[in-house]
């Protein structure tokens, strides 16, 4: 069983939700991202979403767009991210999920990509702009290498699509808690609880909720209703505000620890 599936099973048995922080690989540098990834694992991350920087991140708000741009300026590419995953894997056993846009995967070659992801030691891939409808070849390739495939579900997904999405995800569904792109939000939707119940029922998979969760209090609320809590922009912002200072890793880890604590207390 791959590490992501394993972790979700362990958490289910313990009655806990997964804390899933996101960072952009290469922001502020690959070396620091690797230190942060290792630290996140130590501070209670159950799965780390490792963002692959892309030139045209249509699914992301300004915070992650800018992080992506900073990483690209350092010359970070898909190959650089795969090498980085390999180095993280030597230091940490925390499950790793690559968060990427489809074109770098497409250009790499789907079959070769699945193989290289598995060899590097990543456990899953989420392609933001690859809906399950056209992803048969991609899923088969990932599964052949034991790599988990995660797809997005949205508030606009009708039941028929939720069923398709559930079938395409092997471990959990990533539910976008609101319309729009990634980013922080002051308050969560009042209807989130019902929405998560509905998505879980229609996809028949555990649900991780992301987009807009930025504080420990919000993380705690979401952990009460969902199997996973994704926090992206808020962590990326802490890293950005550190501006590459020597305590960047410590600051990110301290914030993540508070979030992890909130998720585990729920």
């Amino acid at each position: 069983m791959n590490r992501i599936a394993q972790r979700f099973q362990t958490l289910r048995e313990a009655g806990q939700s997964a804390f899933i922080p996101f960072i952009t690989g290469g922001d502020p540098s690959l070396a620091v991202s690797e230190d942060i990834a290792v630290a996140l694992g130590e501070k209670g991350a159950d799965v780390i979403e490792y963002g692959v920087p892309f030139s045209d991140p249509v699914g992301d708000g300004p915070v992650i767009q800018e992080a992506s741009l900073r990483a690209l300026k350092q010359g970070v590419t898909m190959r650089g991210i795969l090498a980085s995953v390999e180095r993280i894997r030597k230091r940490s056993q925390t499950p790793l999920l690559l968060f990427t846009y489809y074109n770098p995967v497409f250009v790499h070659g789907v079959a070769a990509f699945a193989r290289d992801v598995a060899n590097a030691g990543a456990d899953g891939v989420l392609c933001v702009d690859l809906p399950p409808d056209d992803a048969r070849e991609y899923r088969d390739a990932m599964r052949a290498h034991g790599v988990s495939t995660v797809f997005l579900a949205a508030p606009t997904s009708p039941d028929k699509r939720l069923a398709l999405i559930g079938e395409a995800c092997d471990t959990f569904v990533y539910y976008i808690s609101r319309l729009g792109v990634t980013g922080e939000k002051a308050s969560l939707s009042e209807h989130l609880r019902e929405a998560v119940v509905h998505v879980r029922e229609k996809t028949a998979k555990p649900v991780a909720v992301g987009f807009g969760i930025s504080t420990p209090e919000q993380a705690r609320q979401v952990a009460e209703i969902a199997e996973g809590v994704v926090v992206g922009s808020a962590i990326v912002r802490v890293i950005a505000e550190a501006g590459g200072a020597s305590d960047t890793t410590q600051r990110a880890a301290a914030f993540a620890a508070k979030l992890a604590d909130a998720v585990k207390k729920a």
Binding site: D56, G59, Q65, F106, A154, R161, L179, G180, V181
Partner: protein
């Protein structure tokens, strides 16, 4: 001439896209999940309108009385004489309301938005013509309108920014990435994802996720249908060659589509050669691009070996884009349409020549097509016919062009 000569056989011979929005291996529907439902909803609404006489009558009425269709097919005699070869015709989309072919699609899609009950439309724009067309159709139909435009393009096309604002549209400057068309599309897609329930995205070219390439092509195909009838009236036969510039590719598909089934008609798409065919200096996807997926569709893309999208350059904002419509990629692979490029300088030369000989100042985009006419016509017989799409007028470009050329001075 009997009627069978005049009717198009394209729909029987060219049944693309398939149900998944594919043109062979190109096209498709690659967007974040939030937008998938909106695309399905759009396709369903669009297919309904195809069979709805009231909708079609309304569209035809606006095309005639508001847009001013049919646009003329003009025999460019002085240019023909100067080039000393094929007989050159211009399809005068520059005479359509707002000054370019973009209104055909913008009007169709805004009517569609209204029918779907969406009170707000958004659009991206490069040269500003699609933005102006969308702002115009939105004003006509009483829709809220917001236009995303790269700040670099706002600088190049200040006049069009003012026009959009005059018609009540909000123009949003996009400062991310290269600050041109591609980045404006990214921002429009983000807006659409956030406001999809009450907003329709009027995508301006034959690119993007299915069904946009199909819808835009169908709304633009009126250009070719009119051309067919007009040329049969003038010459009693099909053209030998058709030429159009290709950014996303909507004016080219608009002219070519009805003739794809006519094997004797050669078709040439002209991309932006920029200053040089080298990374970052042009927008000729079929010369320097490779297979990739950008902004919803698989097609040819200017990108690096890691799949990061490359910078592009063209003197013409409307051709300055890193990918090209999937149907063009399909026609390229199957050699139905030939693709070439014209450099910035060739386009600027053609821009001036056309003004001097015909009293028509083409848009810098269309000037790329004129540049190709200048290359081709002299080698053809006087009995041959070239139809070129004069896709837009150059008024919007005079300020920008004045930086590069000094009319009346020999250079």
């Amino acid at each position: 001439m009997n009627n069978s000569d005049i009717s198009s056989t394209t729909r029987e011979k060219h049944r693309w896209p398939d149900a998944q929005g594919r043109y062979g291996r190109y096209g498709g529907k690659y967007v974040p999940e939030t937008l998938m439902y909106a695309l399905d909803e759009l396709e369903a609404a669009y297919r309904e309108t195809a069979e709805d006489d009231a909708f079609q009558t309304q569209l035809a009425d606006y095309q005639r009385h508001y847009v001013g269709r049919p646009t003329p097919l003009y025999s460019a005699k002085r240019l023909t004489e100067y080039l000393g070869g094929a007989n050159v015709y211009f399809k005068r989309e520059d005479l359509a309301h707002t000054g370019a072919h973009k209104i055909n699609n913008a009007l169709g899609q805004c009517l569609l938005a209204k029918r779907m009950g969406k009170p707000r439309v958004i659009a991206e724009t490069g040269a500003g013509q699609h933005g102006v067309a969308t702002a115009t159709a939105a004003a006509l139909l009483g829709l809220d309108c917001e236009i995303y435009m790269g700040s670099e393009d706002m600088e190049r096309q200040r006049l069009n920014v003012f026009r959009m604002r005059l018609m009540g549209a909000k123009v949003v400057a996009v400062d991310s990435g290269s600050r041109t068309l591609k980045d404006a599309i990214n921002e429009a897609l983000r807006d659409w994802a956030a406001n999809v329930e009450r907003t329709h995205y009027v995508l301006g070219t034959v690119h993007g996720p299915h069904p946009f390439p199909m819808i835009c092509r169908d709304f633009q195909a009126i250009i070719g249908r009119e051309t067919r009838a007009q040329l049969f009236e003038a010459e009693g036969r099909l053209p030998d060659m058709m030429i159009a510039c290709v950014g996303g590719g909507s004016n080219a598909i608009g002219l070519f589509f009805d003739f794809l089934g006519d094997e004797s008609v050669r078709m040439i798409g002209v991309e932006a050669g920029g200053t040089k065919i080298a990374p970052g200096m042009h927008a000729a996807r079929f010369s320097g691009g490779s297979l990739g997926m950008l902004q919803g569709a698989v097609s040819y893309v200017l990108q690096d070996e890691s799949g990061l999208i490359g910078d592009t350059h063209s003197v013409s904002a409307g051709l300055d884009y890193a990918s090209v419509g999937p149907e063009h990629a399909y026609c390229f692979e199957h050699k139905r349409i030939e693709y070439t490029s014209a450099s910035d300088q060739e386009a600027l030369d053609a821009f001036q020549l056309c003004g001097r000989l015909e009293g028509i100042i083409p848009a810098l985009e269309s000037a790329h097509a004129v540049a190709e006419v200048i290359k081709r016509a002299p080698d053809m017989a006087a009995t041959d016919i070239i139809v070129m799409n004069m896709s837009g007028r150059g008024d919007k470009d005079v300020q920008h062009a004045a930086r590069f050329i000094a009319p009346g001075e020999d250079s």
